[in-house]
Amino acid sequence: MISEITSVFRDVLDNDKIVINEKTVADDIDDWDSLTHIELVIGIEKRFKIKFKTSEINSWANVGEMCNAIDRLLNK
């Protein structure tokens, strides 16, 4: 899953060198700002064909929690 999310990050941020892991947070990635965050969420929703709730997005502390949310939606 991290590889697919990495692909979304690279597309959205237009940077093929981005490397993320479950502990990655916004401060670790240049240009990961509030607008980019929206684009990332949209990119992930499209990639995995899922829909998040606003409340779960706001609760993510790092990429790992984002992955957990994706997992939960994929396994519903």
Binding site: I38, E39, V41, I42, E45, K51, T54, I57
Partner: protein
């Protein structure tokens, strides 16, 4: 409320006031836009209006024509496929094609059509609603 599939149709006119206001504001006096003979020599029937005048119309659409006012444009694309001339009457047709409730974002696909039925420009806009 903005819903998937909502459609909008808004008329605009590229009036002298719009044209001169655009030049006065942004100072783009390229001869294609300001010199009738030059524009005709390049194969157009008259002065070609600045494509970004249409972006002004889009700004009006998003800012004033939607049923909500707490909106902001995140991004937009536009392709210009036919020239627009002074006093052309255009209709902006826009449809909500994507909704992302989790981040309060909405995507509109749009096109501008002139009175000859030609689509002179098309693109998409993504907006966000501010909470």
């Amino acid at each position: 409320m903005i819903l998937l599939g909502n459609c909008y149709s808004i008329p605009f006119m590229v009036s002298t006031a719009v044209y001169e206001g655009f030049i006065a504001t942004f100072n783009d006096k390229n001869p294609l836009h300001t010199d009738e003979d030059f524009a005709i020599s390049k194969g157009f029937k008259g002065k070609v209006m600045h494509g970004n005048i249409l972006n002004g119309f889009l700004s009006y659409f998003i800012g004033e024509c939607l049923p909500v006012k707490n909106c902001i444009i995140h991004s937009q694309t536009i392709k210009f496929s036919h020239p627009v001339f002074l006093n052309d009457e255009l209709v902006l047709n826009a449809e909500v094609t994507e909704v992302y409730e989790s981040v309060n974002a909405y995507v509109f696909k749009f096109y501008f059509q002139n009175s000859d039925g030609k689509k002179v420009a098309k693109g998409d806009i993504r907006i966000g609603l501010l909470l």
